[in-house]
């Protein structure tokens, strides 16, 4: 590939799903997957994954720590459909059934560098009180047919959700050839490294 005039740009994502904060629940694990547009294709790395089960620490904070690494590289021709990471958290309920504890999605940061994102999580609500009771009894809470739904807008109007918990992610972003293709995600004022260099 000629480096002078590239036809695709690359987006490399390193990072980790660091912690989660679900005050009421314990022993949770999470799944992640990426949602991206038609013009995007992963070139390396894992598109989805499932983490270990993490319990809350006894002391200090009540965060669940997964430190689950993410690593994926995308290539794309078009920033439209910029990838989003969809995180869904599961854990056992009082009867030991595996139920969903939260869905959340966030766009992969656009600018190169290190970013921390905290996603508020939510779960779909039962359609009625009775449903709620039985779903609680049966351990079959309502779930999205596909976690990727949370990264899309279409059809969401029919759902009701309530929020619970947060998940914190960290991303290290490297992009390649974005500028060459005319996508300038780094504004000039935001180049701290260079400025620092100049100062020193």
């Amino acid at each position: 590939m000629a480096t002078s005039n590239p036809s695709v740009f690359l987006l490399m994502v390193n990072g980790q799903i660091e912690t989660a904060n679900f005050p009421e629940y314990d022993d949770l694990y999470c799944k992640y997957c990426f949602v991206y547009g038609h013009d995007w294709a992963p070139t390396s790395g894992l598109e989805e994954g499932i983490s270990q089960i993490a319990s809350k620490g006894r002391e200090s904070s009540h965060d669940l720590v997964w430190n689950f690494p993410l690593e994926i590289t995308f290539k794309s021709t078009n920033p439209f459909g910029w990838p989003q990471i969809v995180v869904s958290v599961y854990g056992p309920d009082t009867f030991g059934n595996d139920v969903v504890r939260g869905y959340g999605a966030v766009h992969i940061p656009l600018t190169p560098g290190r970013h921390t994102r905290t996603i508020p999580m939510f779960v779909p609500e039962s359609t009625s009180r009775l449903q709620k009771l039985t779903s609680w009894l049966m351990g079959r809470r309502p779930e999205f047919t596909d976690p990727k739904v949370v990264a899309q807008g279409e059809g969401r109007e029919v759902t009701r959700v309530h929020s619970q918990g947060f998940v914190t992610l960290q991303f290290n972003i490297v992009t390649k050839d974005m500028k060459k293709l005319g996508y300038d995600t780094v504004s000039d004022t935001q180049t701290p490294l260079r400025v620092r260099d100049k100062l020193s």
């Binding site: 021709t77 779909p124 039985t134 279409e154 059809g155 293709l181």
Partner: protein, 1649 residues
Amino acid sequence: MASTSDIRDKLRRKHRALRASLERRRDDTQEVTGGEEEEVAETLRRSLRTQRQRRRKKLLEKMNADESWVEEEVAGAVVEEDGTVQVFHRDERSDDAAELGAVASPSGRPPRELPPLPTPKENTMERRMREKLKAARSKAESLLLQEEPASRLQALRERDTRTRFDREAGVEPRPRRDDASPPLAGRATLRDAVRRVGMDAQTETGLPTAEESYNFFTFNFDPEPEEKHHPRQHKKREQDKGEEPGEDEEERQQDEEEEEEEERGDEGGEDLFLIEQSDKDFVEVKRAEYVGYYERVQRERELFFVPSTRTVPASRKLPENMQPRFLEDEGLYVGERPVVSRTNENIMENRILRQDQDKKWFGDDGRVIVLPDPIKESPTRPPLFHMEGELDPALQTVYRKAVRAKNTSRYITGAGDAQGDFQLDVDVSGLIFSHHPLFSREHVLGARLAQLYDQYLSKQQKNLTGLLTDKLNGLRNTIRNMLELHAGQGLSQATQHRIAEYTQEIRYTRQMRDASQEKDRILMKSIVKVWKELKALREFQRFTNTPYKLYLRREEVDRDFDEQQHKAEIQAEVAELQAEAEEHYEKMMSDYRRMHEEWKRWRRKQKALKTKKKKRRQTSLEEDEEEESEEELGEEPPRPEQPQEPDPEAVEQQVREKAARIRRKPGEAVLVPELTASCSVTPSDQCPRAEFARRQDVSKRSLFIKVLYNGKVVSRTDSRSLSADFRVHFGQIFNLKIVNWPESIELQVFETVGTSTTQMADVFIPIPEASILTGRAPSEEVEFSSDQRVMFNHEGVGSGVPFSFESDGSNRLTLLTSGKVSCCVSWAVGEDNVPLAPPIAHPTGAIHSGIRQMDAIACIGASGVNDMKKLRKWAADSRLDPNDPNNASVMQLLSMVSGGEENVPDYFRLEQLQEEFNFVPDEELDKSRRFRLLRLRSQEVGEFRNYKNVPALEREVSDKVFQEYEKRLREREIVDTKDHLDAHRALVAKYLQKVRESVINRFLIAKHHFLLSDLVVEEEVPTIGGPGTGVLGLNLFKLAEPKRPLKPRRKERKKVSAQNLSDGDIKLLLNVIRAYDLPVRKPQSSKPPATSKPGRSFTEPFPAAQSSHSTIQGSDWPMNQVLIRPFVEVTFQRTVLQTSTAEGPNPCWNEELLLSFTAPNGDYSTSSLQSVKDEVFINVFDEVVHDVSKGERDWNGFHACVEKHWLGSVKIPFSTIYLQSRIDGTFKVEMPPVLLGYSKERGLVSEGGYDAIRSLSEGAFITLFITIEPQLVPGETIREKMKDVKFESQEDERLLLASQFFERDAAQHFPARPCLTTVIDINGKSVFVTRYIRPLNPPQELLDLAPNASQEATELVARYVALIPSLPDTVSFAGVCDLWSTCDQFLTLLAGDEEEHAVLLCNYFLAMGKKAWLIIGTAIPEGHSAYVLTYEQNRYVIWNPSSGQYYGQYDTFCPLQAVGCLINADNVWFNLQMYDAPARMSFDVSKSKFWKPFFSRAFSHPGLSSVQPEELVYQRTDKAAAAELQDRIEKILREKIMEWRPRHPTRWNRYCTSTLRHFLPKLERSGGHDVAEEHRLELQSLLGDYRISGFPLHMPFSEIRPIIEAVYSTGVHNVEASNVEFALAAYVHPYPNNVLSVWIYLASLIRTR
């Protein structure tokens, strides 16, 4: 009795006296009116009486009915009343005694003593007494109930006054009087015992009322009837007019009454003497009064009324003897009553009944009258029904230009931020009136003087005259210098020109200076004049009102110098003027000369003409010509006058005169006026009265000012009084913190006189610029005036009214109130010296954006727009330099608006700033291929849906991408016949495509509509006791269920919604279980020995076959043969899988095949999956192993060559599998009618027709199980949504409702059974299904073919219908809906699914006179489908319309699995039987136990007309076209086969081909039956040397692609033997209306030698 006569005498006397006195005053008219009045009064009285009686009666009744305690009370009252009566009576007597002295009291004749005289008087007395008693009774009870007899004394007095009053009012004296009696009665109770004596007798006689007693006294007892009315009249008059005798009379009466009371008291005992007795009686020491509980309760009960909640009987609410009327029942409109609870209503009614005796509150129906409920059920706004149609003009929307909300965009940007703290200081320092209505004359003059002085001062300050003089001198000097410079030489052109300009300038300047000087002088003069007038006025009025005093300072000047200057000035001027005059003269002279010349020429001509004329006149004396010639010359030009020479003297004179007029004389002192306010004002007490009044008035006035910001009152100043010099000082500063843009600052001046406040004037103050800050801003004086008219009668001159200074009133002038407000508006300065002014950028910014976007200006509300014209004018006036960059923006703006039109668009644009955000203009966007691609993708255009990796750069997008798409767009109009082989089909395909597109577009919205179940997986609500597994209890039991039960039940697989799948996720699972009745190979020996050499022809693969072939000739089939080695090959999306080989005609494979599925374009959405047109081909082959003959190859080993021979196939469309989600059953293998080399055991073949309905032997069968793994959610969601989308319909609403109900009911009881009542026609409208059934004639040709055999004809017709290609709606209308076309549409389109076929077949059958029904049911493999049922020869026959096959009711292999409903032209029956398999049910629709009819007796058939045409018109198909098509098919197929065999040569056996071609028509004629044997024999005879395997394929023709597919699936081309030859023949048989039957004969030949 003697006393009686005395009394009478006396009475008579008195009466007469009275009458005399009255008559004296009365005149005739009065008499008459009086009489009338009397009459009226009498009737009134009577009516009142009757009314009262009635009321009382009712009351009594009510009380009797209702409350017993009231009754007691009444009784008490009666008793008391009696007492009163007695007292009264006695009073009467004593009263008379007291009054009349010696005359015995009139009532002194005790009633007892009087005989019951029939005299009217007595009677009336009695009656009245009785009435009174009754009235008193009722009153008494009500009074006792209502009011506490707190103080008797008071009651007594009250009664007194009341009676008197009443008497005077005179209308109804009695009831009022009755009022009074209860207290008396109450009192009477105390002395009950005393009075009981003789009570009874007295009650009978009654007691005279006041009136009666009056009558008694005044009545003329003479029997004359004419006099009878007199006393009444008399009395009436008294009452009405209050005349003296009346008054007297009344007074007397009252006296009587009072006395009565007193006497009553006398008689009654000590407590009546309370009034007269001493205080001791009041101050009596008593025990504390205690009222016992019971007593209190009793008392309260008397006082309180507790309305009952019981229903009031209607009779009490209505007038007596009236039945309640119910207006509603009578058909009158009665509004709905507002909801009031029954108890409340009852309480209300009881209360009303209690309070008001009359029934005005109750309506005719006995209920309380109420207004109808005002709340409407539905909104009154008319709904808009016709969206596309013409609107009612009344409802038409009217375009109004959008009006900006007043306060939007007024806010200062950033207001509320840290910087947005803006403050405007309004300093109102004071007010000076230049005219006020209270001005005196002197004030007027003073004001004028002050004004003039002000003018003078400002002029002085500007010093215009001085400036102009200097300029003049400068100019003169310049000219002089220039002339001096060029003294001798001739002046150059330029210099001359300049000099001329200068002179011009001098002239102009001089004029200006002169004017200015003149003004100065006039001003001076007028100042002096006004001052003189003022002085005169002061002297005249002898007091001073104003402090003005003018001093004229004289400044001496140097006389000589002055004179000199003056002279020089004059001289210069004179010189100039002379020069000017000379110049003028020159000009005039030249003009004159020219004109003169002209004139002379004319004269000459004239003369010449005249001479000519003279001559002519001599010759001919015609006048006309003369006139003409005169006319020719035209008018005589005026003889120019010679201009006068300029007269220097006159000029000088003129100049001097002017100088004398406008300049001071040389040496005259310069006058400098000085106006001071040093004059003392005469104190008020020395002024005359008028002036004093004026001053008083002035002092009464006060003023204040309201400050308005943007039209809102912000604050106001204190009220300050007007001072004598008409100045008001406020000195207040208002700090306005503002959020809105300042638009106007207004001061309103109010004047207060006493309490009334009037607004005098509005003063608008300009909004300061941002640079004007508090502290630096100069105070401004803003003038105001008002046009109020005020006039005074004192010295004040008023305003708006003329007044005069002269004593004779001449020279009037009118002044209006005016004045000046001195104020100052500026922006405040913050604490840290930051101006609190909004940024100045605002207006300029607006202009900038205005340059870009004209209508943006209007929206932003910049001031620029309004003044666009002004701006242009200003720019033109000020000669802006267009090249100056500073002016660039303005010039640009001006160029935008040039042309004069205001370019603000007339329309409203929603996103008016959109353009500014556009990256590129739209055209550019359209040009870009990349953007086009992106856009098409997002529009989900078929070709680009899910297009991956749109290139990043424009140049990388190749045009090829769009080729297909553009081609399609182009083709939409052009019909391409190439692909379709047949013009008609091409047209149909186009039409279908269009219909499809429009239908799809219609439901595009619905497709993007999501249901909760699409997104969220949720356990179903456990329905308690409902069907299925959803019982809550059971679900709870499940918790305790063992994890691995011993007898596991089948669980439904989890359904996967299709949207998240990708390639390879979906597998097609196909389980091939077994087959029945496959054909077996025909042993070689079957060929006739005559035709070929035995032993040589076919290599017999199996010795067993060989051994048996002799026996085969015998009709019994030996059992020990290896007949066939079949295997199944499944082809799907060009992937091929095969099972292992089994043996025998009834093989069992039981193998599972997994085929992967890829959706088109990788789009796995439901709609896309539904439109997959791929089919699963299940082909049954026979594996034939040949020994490669030793003769040909000399190999040492055993060589076998494996061939596969196609036996038959089953086609199942993917869409069926997808929609059914699982297909399980035994299918008939479609086999060619002739299978060379194979035969079938046909034990039961017969010609018996329906008698011998083939039980199971016809054809071979295969058992399959097909499903998709994982299970996909079928397109049901969309279908369900479609149900919500109501199709418009022309059916009766009632019918639609009934059908909906019918279907719902059916679905409730038998959810699996399809029920159909309404269908959607091709236009997307709901149509009732029976409308589709109507007898329609089949093509006559077919009937001609089999004229008598009805069964044959039936079969032919069925075959004809089956030949119309089948195209499932689900494919063409991707999961949208099932459309039914009518038969003519179907025949035109020549494509349709089972329903259309079935309808057509059914209609044909009906036309042929059969009993036929449409079956809606479930079949394999189609799923929901339509079949036709006929009743023939006492049995039911089921027809498959798309294959033309028929089955008996009890046929095991009938593809129809379940019957949902039957339809014919009259009715729809739903299957209510326990079983729905045709073999297990009854088709007798008359049994209502089994079949539920749609139209029953309750809802009869409304006589629906059919949607079908009356008759079908068939066109004869062009034979030539068919032949052409035949050739083309053959050619295409040949090419295809060669294409499929890329590595081998493909040889065609022409001889065989021609033979085959010869066969095909025969096959067609026989319908594919029973020609095999003959056929094979013929072939064998022809091609003896070949091992031949082949078969004819038969199919309806739709397009070429399915034919190719079918040929491909047989795998004939796969023969790889090197010496193989092929034969291919095609035959197209045309049927009417372009229905084509296609036969393809395929054979492979292997030369055996």
